[in-house]
């Protein structure tokens, strides 16, 4: 499931050799994710969707500059950047708390790429590109909480982990960023940013955990 983010290029070389470089983008789940049903038969209790091709920037306030960073975020996103573990939906980005004085900017299409953000945060925050460092998995379904309870020590009860709640936490000893998106079809949606090099391994663990409930697997280019 690869899509080309950089156009195919054909270059005529000295010495008459022809090299064709294809800069295919490959998600870290490219091989492991097989769309369709998995595990127990019947109505799937868990739905897993990998979201492709996103921009992810880590924004970290400089010493004593938290206020300026928040102001810069406000100016750019017309939203208050999260200062506690929350995910804030702006018009075209989600701002996810990732630690004290820092948050992630999740967006699509390059509008809030690290280059685009640089000027606005100059002097108030340090930026680090994480777009390729993570895989993004969205989990929903009747049994999403039951399945996540096998991986996460976080209390996901609706009264505790409401829409917009976020956590920098670990699943199966692997660091993840977890937040609850907007409900879809009346069901809670949990988003997971997983480190890319761990993604395939954690994916298999997720499938093992979900198999008893029946799983439907897919991918999407849309942010949840």
């Amino acid at each position: 499931m690869s899509s080309s983010a950089i156009p195919y290029s054909t270059i005529r070389m000295e010495g008459a050799s022809v090299a064709e470089f294809s800069w295919d983008i490959r998600s870290p789940l490219d091989r492991a994710l097989v769309a369709g049903p998995y595990g127990a038969q019947g109505k799937a209790g868990v739905s897993l969707t990998e979201i492709h091709n996103f921009d992810l920037a880590q924004v970290m306030a400089r010493r004593g500059k938290a206020g300026e960073m928040i102001a810069a975020a406000k100016a750019r996103f017309s939203a208050a950047a999260p200062e506690t573990p929350r995910a804030v939906s702006a018009a075209d980005a989600t701002l996810i708390w990732s630690g004290p004085d820092q948050f992630l900017v999740l967006s699509k299409g390059g509008k809030h790429s690290i280059e685009a953000l640089a000027a606005g945060f100059a002097g108030s925050a340090s930026l680090s590109d994480q777009s390729h460092a993570r895989a993004l998995i969205s989990v929903s379904g009747d049994k999403a909480r039951a399945m996540l309870a096998k991986l996460s020590s976080i209390d996901l009860h609706p009264s505790v982990f409401a829409v917009g709640a976020a956590a920098a936490t670990s699943m199966d000893h692997t660091s993840v960023t977890l937040w609850r998106g907007k409900d879809r079809d009346g069901q809670a949606v949990f988003n997971l940013l997983v480190f890319a090099t761990f993604a395939e391994s954690l994916w298999h663990t997720i499938l093992d955990s979900a198999a008893e409930y029946g799983v439907t697997i897919g991918h999407s280019d849309e942010l949840a």
């Binding site: 950089i6 156009p7 290029s9 270059i11 070389m13 010495g15 050799s17 090299a19 064709e20 470089f21 294809s22 800069w23 295919d24 983008i25 490959r26 998600s27 870290p28 490219d30 091989r31 595990g39 127990a40 880590q58 970290m60 400089r62 010493r63 004593g64 340090s126 930026l127 680090s128 590109d129 994480q130 777009s131 390729h132 460092a133 993570r134 039951a146 309870a149 096998k150 996460s152 020590s153 976080i154 209390d155 009860h157 505790v160 199966d172 000893h173 692997t174 480190f195 890319a196 090099t197 761990f198 395939e200 391994s201 954690l202 298999h204 663990t205 093992d208 955990s209 198999a211 008893e212």
Partner: protein, 993 residues
Amino acid sequence: MAGDQANRLTSGGLIDRSTALSFRFDGKNFLGFKGDTLASALVANGVRLVGRSFKYHRPRGILTAGSEEPNALVELRSGARREPNTKATTAELYEGLEAASQNRWPSLNFDVMSVNQLFAPIFVAGFYYKTFMWPAKFWEAIYEPAIRRAAGLGRASGVSDPDHYDKAWAHCDVVIAGSGPAGLAAALAAARSGARVILCEEDFVLGGRLLADGGTIDGLPAAEWVARAVAELEAMPDVRIMTRTSLFGVYDGGTYGAIERVNDHLPVPPEHQVRQRLWRIVAKRCVVAAGAIERPIVFAGNDTPGVMMASAMRSYINRYAAAPARRIALFTNNEDGWRTADTAIAAGLQVAAVIDARADVSPAHRSLASKGGFPVLHGSVSAVEGGKGGVRKISVSLTGGARAEVEADGLAVSGGWNPAVGLTSYHRGRPKWRDDIAAFVPDGAPPGMVAAGAANGAFGLGACLREGFEAGAAAARDAGRSGNIGSMPVADDAAFSLTPLWHVAGKCKAFVDQQHDVTASDVELAQREGFQSVEHLKRYTTLGMATDQGKTSNVAGLAIMAAVSGKSIPETGTTIYRPPYVPVAIGAFAGHHRDENFHATRLTPSHHWAAEQGAIFVDTGLWKRAQWYPRPGEKDWLESVTREVKAVRGGVGFCDVSTLGKIDVHGPDAGAFLDRVYINAFSSLAVGKARYGLMLREDGIVYDDGTTSRLAEDHYFLTTTTAKAGLVMQHLEFCRQVLFPELDVQLTSVSDQWAQFSIAGPKTRDLLKEIIDPAEDLSNDGFPFMGAREVKLRGGLKARLFRISFSGEMAFEISVPARYGEAMARNLMIAGKPFGVTPYGTEALGVMRIEKGHVAGPELNGTTTAGDLGLGKMMSTKKDFVGRVMAGREALTAPSRQVVVGIKPTDKARRLRSGAHIIPKDETPGPENDQGYVTSVCFSPVLDQWIGLGLVERGRERIGEIVLAHDPLRGEDYDVELCNPVFYDPDGGRQRG
């Protein structure tokens, strides 16, 4: 007769008579019903002999009806699913169940090991400490194997467990252990308050003792009240009822361990399902309503099959409609035991006699006796007749000295009740003694935990409900819930009167710990030999160390010890209670983490491409790394690796080095920060340049190394070794947040953001020109050695390019965003095709670094200094840095230290091996002249021989000296020459060229 359920009562019980289940015990076929345990089905079928004891192999029957069972242990299931030591009393019956008795040979009925009973006079507690000492060699050869074979009960399957397990977290306000009257009342009160409640019940049916003892609650029969309570609880969304789940432990911060036997009641777990699940329950409060355990009285012959706890008899009769005997005698020292006489009569069984150790019996019981036509004997049981066939006759010593005999085929015993004090004592709280019930009750429970009902010493039904309800309400309140708790369930309290009786003195063996064959005289012997502390008693006699952890024996044992040592029971005290409350399968604690899933696996961005190339992978920490890329016709790894090295040194090759830790260091003080964490300076590094850095621990020993590049005034890109990536990040965050908080610096791991490749060999630049935008100047002037900057690739993609080399060749490292990593590998192959580009793995990487004398993991072993590694000159004297002061200590700077040198065998055909020690030539190896060892070796294609690095005393002063490589483990001794560790291009012309 097999299969006829001859002892099944014709009516009653919570069994489903419409669902008959067939099962096998010791090869014989039987029938039972859904709702039976293995034990109740065996009782129904008249099977009384179910096991043999640990030491004397005495015949044993079923003593209890619960998880405290010491005797009725079986091997359940067969083949790979065989589970030793399974309590028949808790094993749920299922169609096709197979069980076998254990610790007997050749059969349960005829067990030759029962000859041990003949030696019983010698096999007293601790006998083995006094003998088997001569001759010394005989212990491992003869005595110990014999003891080991005789000991142990069941047999493990011996093959890999085929079932799956997993683990999960649960969160609640109130967790409740036990669903008897106290537990259900607690759950009702807490749930009505609005609390999130988890109710754990180890049984497969809710109700606890109500299932066997009935009663009237709120004017309803107990069963009906239970059904209503459960229905009310089930209707509430924040109540989770977990049957087949034992709360086994309490850990810090309100974390509770529980084991759910998800599918143990089925022959095999359904597809995609686990056998058992380990729960970590996080609860603000815990109500322990785990009930109490009826305790035996120790008397001669008390282990005869057919002797059973009085409450267990009621369970078998009332809950399972199975008669443990037809003519039952009851031996009790308390009022509660009498209920078994009631139950027996109600079930149409005969009561042979009630032997009551108390002086008085209530008028109600007297009238029961006359109605039932059985005598009440005041006294105690002094002997039981009957072997493996079970109880036949009971001798009674009457108060006043006369004797009586009672013919019976079953003896119910009640010595009173011990509250289940395990959970409340796991944080080292010691239970306290209560004289009125002659039992220990919880004290010093962990924070947030409270016991209620029988677990707290309240033995009346009304009291259980009251305590449970109040505890549940209080727990919910403490958790911040304040809903209307409604009315408290009420019931009458039966009178509880008891005259403590622990041990009836007699001549024959009277068992305290039935499973471990610890007798009353063993306890007395222990006292005589000075093992008076209860812990000494336990360890010397093994009392309470069996699979039941002394649930039916500990208190009796210490009571007997108290009596013989002239102390009170509370003075004697208890041993330490330890989790788990019931034994838990090791597989459940492991969950998913076994076999290939033991630990996570990290894959490099080019992993799948490398796999397509046929790469052999090696585990490096959690990573899978390409170790080499074999080609058809290559006879071994060495041939492949040698080819890869030659291809690099003669042309160009590349290797995925994305596993290096990569950290963005941002901020105005980034340079100052790096100056403090590295021994060398980084604030002075020019933008666009890279520098090799070495960091120490605060104790002056080398911690890690790597290159760090300055990409902008306020932005450095730091790399760590693969092994230390996470730890260095932690260390740097410590330096940033704790040691130097005044610095304005930000750290982010970008290890996963970048796919990084090392491209090395004289044709590196040629290859790069193919793939990098022609506008980028890659010449020596335009991109000098140790240069570092962003470049544009053909097609527009941006990459980071670093001119660094660990191979000694002209080399670059190039980083692209990780999702382009696989494309990068493919494109390097395309771009390098004209130059014979060769992918190489970690072995070739290792060969080239050794040839070049670069230190790596084997040299950075946590005991070496910068000086040892030949890098002492890097240590700045102009600044403070982590580890500076301690690095200066006398022994760390001594001239005699072992330092890095090159090593090569004088015989070029000789293979050098890591781990060989270095001994001066012509000396006999010994501790005094053991001067170091070989740390890293490789076959060097350049030198056409094995070479290595080593840490050798004063090594740098001894270049050229011939020494002995001494490798007794592999039976090798050979001469090697100590040499300059830089075997290849010592002037460095190639990498700068």
